[in-house]
Each structure stands twice: as structure tokens, then as C-alpha cells.
């Protein structure tokens, strides 16, 4: 069948997006597979479509599409935009080959999970965001000849980004600012300088597998955007690096506050002039100097009945030749000795609790 040509603007009457898409559906039902669409900003051109005959391919040559050209597009669909396209090119692309020879607006390749998106110019902010890779299918590829806007590849979960940085030597970053925030999967190859990347990702040199992938990919990419002459310049892999998310276990060692006190804080503590601070911590019940109270024995009243000796829960009291004593290293100052003593020979007294 011949190519189906659709003009969307007659006089001052513009075909709406719905009218255009309905026309395309009808033509596909008639068996058309090749379209040339002279658009006027209509949205969603080329998406979620398949040819009437199984196995046939759909092709769209589009001028001046609106947003989301090739969104939800499927394997077997090829979309070619000669000039530039606005936002959301290839959103949720699930298998189409989408070529934009000019620039793309913001969020190009957003959530793409399959297919290939080839861009002969620049792409806007948040491009490549949330790309994913469903292991049942080939990973999505997103090739950009020049550069991306800021916040690119945010929350990326899988797939492959290739940012060639062509003609971008003057730029501080071919991926804008704060790229790859929240990136957890996939890989981004880039050529040239980049600014800050999120702390959760790491920048590595290419290995031979990477280079083989790029080598093969460049042939298709450059052919699609009519820039085959650039291959030699772009395949000097010494200018390339890749970004991958850090593995989960590669977390940074934390510097505890205790370490900070020991190494950075005022030596001996800020109260060191007044207090001999040993930083020891007493439990709620303790022995020795940390006790709130301590028993004192009175020889005069003691009748050597040994009740205290038997009742002391810490076995702190001992008797030697009718002299009773409480062992400071055992006594917690509970007061049981004083309570059970029939003659009040044990009395409890506050320990020395004033700090010196």
C-alpha cells in the first residue's frame, strides 16, 4: 500500500489530537502501515499501535509533533521526526525505534522500558528519568548526540543511556546538574565533563564489553540521525566514562558521636577545669562510690546476731572477731542490713555525692 499522508492544518482549522489519532487508527484498520504526518503540535503520535497484519511494521514520518511523540510505542513501530519535538518523547516506550533528528524537550525517554530512542540534538531536563528494564525484554536504549538538561536519569531503574556530548566541550556538564538522583539500576555512558552526580552512584571507566556495545550501537545510532561521519570522533573511548549505581552494601562508614568526642571535641571535656571526668557510666544500681547510700556499722550496739550477714543480698557483709564490715565493692546500698538489724547497728548514710 502507498504511504498515508495526513495534513493537520487546513486554512485556520487545526485537526485536534483526537481527530488525528482516530484518523490514524482508521487508516491502520484499512491496512496502511506507512504514514507521513504534517502535524501541528498534536500529542501522542505513533504510540500503542500495531499493524493490521501481524508481523508488518509501522512507520511514521512526522513533522512538528506535539508532546509524547512515540509514547507507549511498540516493537515494530519506527518513528522519525525530522526536526525538534517537545516534551516526553518516547514516554513509556516499550519497543519502538524513535528518531528525533533535532532536539527533544523535557523528560525525553521518561519511563522508557524498551526499544531505542535516538536523538540528533539535545534533550531537556529530567530526560531518562525512571527508565526501566524488564528482564523479559531487551533493555531500553536512549542515545543523545549532544547533552541533557539537569536532573537527568532521576530514579533510573534500568536500561542504557548514551550521552555523546558532541560539540559540548564548552559546557561544564553534558548532563546538567544533579543528575542520577535516586538511580538504582541501569548504566549511563557519557563523553565529556559532568557536574555533580548523586552520592548513590559511581563513575567508572569503560571495560571492553562496554566498548563493544557502544561500537555496535554507534553504527545504528549515527545512521539513524544521518551523522555517520562522526563515528571516528565519538568512538575515542578514552573520552568516555560510565555511571552505575553503587551496590547496596557499599555504604559509607559512619563516624559515631563517641568517636567525634574522642577525636574532635575539646580535650578532656569542656568541664575538665572543674571536674575530673572519666566518662564512666554507672548503672542504676552500683557498688562503691557510685552508690547513693552506704551502710555504717556501730560496734557499740551490735549484738553479733548475724541477721544482717544472712540477709545481705549482695553477701557484702562479713564478720571477723565480732567486727562487722560491708565490702564497698559488693554493697549496693539497699539498706536491708539496716532494716533487719534489731539494734539499729547498721545505719544508712548518703554517699559522697558532690562532684569535686
Amino acid at each position: 500500500m502507498e504511504t498515508c499522508k495526513i495534513k493537520t492544518l487546513e486554512n485556520n482549522e487545526r485537526m485536534s489530537t483526537q481527530q488525528l489519532l482516530q484518523t490514524i487508527y482508521a487508516k491502520i484498520e484499512e491496512g496502511y502501515t506507512d504514514f507521513e504526518i504534517d502535524a501541528c503540535g498534536q500529542h501522542n503520535i505513533g504510540g500503542s499501535l500495531w499493524a493490521r497484519e501481524k508481523g508488518n511494521k509501522l512507520t511514521f514520518k512526522v513533522t512538528n509533533p506535539g508532546q509524547r511523540v512515540g509514547s507507549m510505542a511498540m516493537a515494530g513501530t519506527k518513528i522519525l521526526v525530522e526536526g525538534s519535538a517537545p516534551a516526553d518523547v518516547g514516554w513509556l516506550n516499550s519497543g519502538a525505534e524513535i528518531v528525533v533528528k533535532g532536539d527533544c524537550g523535557d523528560t525525553a525517554a521518561h519511563c522508557a522500558a524498551g526499544g531505542k530512542i535516538y536523538v540528533g540534538g539535545r534533550v531537556g531536563t529530567r530526560s531518562g528519568a525512571l527508565m526501566k528494564h524488564d528482564p523479559k525484554f531487551n533493555p531500553p536504549q536512549f542515545w543523545v548526540l549532544k547533552n541533557t538538561g539537569s536532573f537527568s536519569f532521576e530514579f533510573m531503574g534500568g536500561g542504557i543511556g548514551v550521552i555523546c556530548g558532541y560539540g559540548c566541550d564548552y559546557m561544564p556538564s553534558v548532563m546538567g546538574e544533579r543528575s542520577c538522583v535516586g538511580m538504582v539500576g541501569g548504566v549511563i555512558y557519557f563523553r565529556g565533563k559532568i557536574a555533580d552526580v548523586a552520592p548513590s552512584v559511581t563513575v567508572l571507566p569503560l571495560d571492553s564489553e562496554d566498548m563493544a556495545f557502544l561500537d555496535k550501537g554507534f553504527d545504528n545510532f549515527l545512521k539513524a540521525i544521518d551523522k555517520e561521519s562522526l563515528k571516528q570522533e565519538l568512538t575515542d573511548y578514552s573520552q568516555w566514562k560510565k555511571i552505575v549505581p553503587k551496590p547496596l552494601n557499599e555504604r559509607e562508614e559512619t563516624f559515631s558521636v563517641a568517636d567525634f568526642r574522642r577525636t574532635n571535641w575539646v580535650e578532656g571535656g569542656i568541664f575538665g577545669d572543674f571536674i575530673e571526668e572519666d566518662f564512666r557510666v554507672y548503672p542504676l544500681t552500683t557498688t562503691g562510690e557510685g552508690r547513693l547510700n552506704k551502710p555504717i556499722w556501730n560496734k557499740e550496739t551490735c549484738i553479733d546476731c548475724k541477721i544482717c550477714l544472712n540477709n545481705c543480698p549482695q553477701k557484702a557483709i562479713s564478720e571477723c572477731e565480732k567486727i562487722y564490715s560491708s565490702d564497698d565493692t559488693k554493697c549496693i546500698g539497699c539498706g536491708i542490713c539496716a532494716a533487719v538489724c534489731p539494734r539499729a547497728s547498721w545505719t544508712m548514710h548518703s554517699n559522697i555525692r558532690e562532684i569535686s
Partner: protein, 368 residues
């Protein structure tokens, strides 16, 4: 979200180009209105560039009252232009009875007045007119300024174009700077005053966005200048801030960007001008904006400028050739008007950038 556009040209352009600029971007707005401001006027207004032109839409009573006020103040009319309206059946438009575009001579008292004094008079007068017409809801005063013409209406942009005969080009009505927007209002009532572009004291601003610091901006601006009124749209805040920074404080234009979207502290700390930037951030913290925005402006001297929010959450593109520069939301509009331009010259302004178009169409990109 709405779609906005600004065109600056070496040759006079008919306002139909603004309809064509916005046409392909129709999906991005809701067809609820159309408004444009023309500056650097040609055609029948060309010989009156120094005299103020009143743009308003009013009832008969409103028209009479406005003319009485101007008369009492000593303004004398030198030119009147009324669009031929085509009230075809089925047009989606809610027209006002009268559309007034009249040029006046300054009162005698201002014969030897300085430019500043004349500007002051025009601001005072437009505020007075607005107040008087608002009382009985009898009309809307959009601009009263030399070499500026404003039209705002509720309805479908295409139909508004048809109603005012704007699709047919003619030489009566043309300008070298045209700004336009195709949506009546964002989240508030449909009010004519709420339609961009907004105009004050020689400054024109239109925006595509959601200024989530509207409340803060508004409370702060209300006390800054008598002309900061209305607030029917959160985007008016951008006009007032631009006016305040540039006209009242007389700061260089770049500080508009520093005020509305200050750099992160981390970056300010590394800069030589950090003391200045931190002071501005503290003093004008209530003029900071948040939320997604792209903003276009025409300065009193005819320069265009464009800035975005700090996360670049709304689209904007600049396309150009030797005779014309277009700034608009989506590249489709540029493609329609300048299909053969060199697209590698297009600029996609980013979150840290201000793009300024000088009167000779030189495009400067300033990095914050």
C-alpha cells in the same frame, strides 16, 4: 498549566502571528481565553509612540466614566481605534460591549514633566480608572501606557481571533513585540484581570506556572507599592517582583533571578558575591518563588527576558533567525512560525539561566 509566547521582531507583525504561535500548543491549555500585549506599535499607532494609549473593555457606562475621568485629569484624546467585531454564530466568546483603544495627549500640567513624572501620572491614572470601574463592575482597564496595546477576552482563542478579525492580516494593527497567552486563568475564578500578560508601569509579564509561595509573595508585595494590587493570579507576583527589583530598587536585571530563585546555600558559600546574595535572600525571602514556573517578560525598553524555576519544571524554548526571536512554551510554536531556522541555535533555558533579547535581537544567556 498554560502556554505562553513572546515574539520580538525587526519588522512589524500583525497579532495573527500570536494566534499562530499558540495554535500548535493548544493541548497545553484549556481554550478558556486569549490575551495579548502589543508593544512598539506600528500601523495607525505608529505616529503616537510617545503618547499613552488606553486599552480597556467596558460597558457603555464604564466607557463614559473612564473618559470623564481622563477628561477631568486633563487628558485629551488624539486617536481612537475600535476593532471591527464579527459576531458570528457559535463563537465561544463572552465579549464586553465596548473595546476601547484610545491614545491621549498628556494634560497641560505635564507639558514639561519628566519621563518619570509622566510615568507616575500614568500609573496613578490607570489605578484610579481600574478602581472606579471595578466599583460597579463596568469595565476592565488593561494598560494605559505609550506604545502599548492590550486585549484580553474570555473564550476560545480561535473564536476570539475570529470575533476581532485577528486572523486577517492588515497594516492598521501591528507591533514589533507581541506577548500572548491562551488561557483565562489557572486555579481561581475566570476573571479578565487574571489573564496574562500582566502589565504595570511599562513592564509586561506572563508565566506558565504555579507559584506555591503566592501567599507569602502577596502579603509582602501588598505593602511595597501602590500598584501591586489585584492578585487575581499567582503569576502577578512575578510582575510585581520584577518591577520592584528593576524599577524601584534599580537593581540589575540579574538580581530578579537571584531574588525569585536564589542559589542553594552550598553554592552561595563558594561565591565571591556571597555576602550580597545572602543579604538579598534574607531581605527578600518573601519574594522567593517555589513550584514549577517559566516566566517571560518585556521590559520598558523593549528587551525580552525569560527565566525558569529552580528545578526547571515547566517548558520554555527560544528560537530565532535574523529578523525575529520567539520565546514560547513549546518548540512546536516556533516550528510553525520559523520552520527554516537553524535549530541548533535554539535555546532551551535551564534552571540557572536568564535569557535576554536585546533590541537588536542579540540574545544573551546569563548564568546565575
Amino acid at each position: 498549566m498554560c502556554r505562553i509566547g513572546a515574539i520580538k521582531s525587526k519588522k512589524y507583525l500583525h497579532p495573527s502571528v500570536s494566534l499562530k504561535l499558540m495554535r500548535s500548543q493548544q493541548k497545553g491549555h484549556d481554550n478558556s481565553g486569549f490575551a495579548f500585549v502589543m508593544q512598539d506599535l506600528g500601523g495607525i499607532f505608529e505616529d503616537y509612540k510617545d503618547l499613552p494609549t488606553l486599552s480597556m473593555a467596558a460597558t457603555v457606562e464604564g466607557t463614559r466614566r473612564a473618559e470623564d475621568i481622563l477628561h477631568d485629569l486633563g487628558f485629551t484624546r488624539v486617536l481612537q481605534w475600535t476593532p471591527d467585531v464579527h459576531n458570528e454564530k457559535g463563537l465561544k466568546i463572552e465579549p464586553m460591549p465596548n473595546y476601547i483603544f484610545e491614545t491621549f495627549k498628556y494634560p497641560k500640567s505635564h507639558k514639561y514633566a519628566t519621563k518619570e513624572e509622566k510615568e507616575e501620572l500614568l500609573v496613578e491614572t490607570s489605578l484610579l480608572l481600574r478602581k472606579e470601574l471595578e466599583k460597579d463592575n463596568i469595565g476592565y482597564v488593561y494598560s494605559f501606557w505609550p506604545d502599548v496595546l492590550t486585549l484580553k477576552e474570555i473564550g476560545c482563542p480561535k473564536d476570539i481571533g475570529t470575533y476581532f478579525g485577528l486572523w486577517e492580516e492588515n497594516d492598521d494593527l501591528c507591533a514589533k513585540v507581541i506577548t500572548a497567552q491562551c488561557r483565562q486563568n489557572t486555579n481561581y475564578d475566570i476573571v479578565r484581570y487574571a489573564a496574562h500578560p500582566f502589565f504595570l508601569d511599562g513592564y509586561t509579564v506572563l508565566a506558565n506556572g504555579e507559584n506555591t509561595f503566592y501567599e507569602k509573595n502577596k502579603l509582602f508585595q501588598q505593602k511595597l507599592h501602590k500598584g501591586y494590587i489585584g492578585f487575581e493570579s499567582d503569576s502577578q507576583c512575578f510582575l510585581y517582583t520584577l518591577h520592584y527589583i528593576h524599577k524601584i530598587l534599580k537593581w540589575p536585571l540579574e538580581y530578579f533571578k537571584h531574588t525569585i530563585t536564589p542559589l542553594p546555600f552550598e553554592e552561595i558559600e563558594r561565591r565571591q558575591d556571597k555576602d550580597v546574595l545572602l543579604r538579598i535572600k534574607a531581605s527578600l525571602g518573601h519574594l522567593e518563588i517555589n513550584g514549577p514556573n517559566s516566566i517571560l517578560a518585556v521590559m520598558p525598553d523593549g528587551k525580552l527576558l525569560c527565566v525558569c524555576d529552580s528545578k526547571k519544571l515547566r517548558p520554555i524554548v527560544v528560537g530565532r533567525d535574523e529578523n525575529m526571536v520567539i520565546m514560547t512554551s513549546e518548540v512546536t510554536g516556533v516550528n510553525d512560525l520559523m520552520p527554516r531556522r537553524n535549530i541548533s541555535q535554539d535555546i532551551y533555558p535551564h534552571e540557572r539561566e536568564m535569557v535576554i533579547v536585546d533590541n537588536d535581537l542579540t540574545v544573551r544567556r546569563w548564568q546565575q
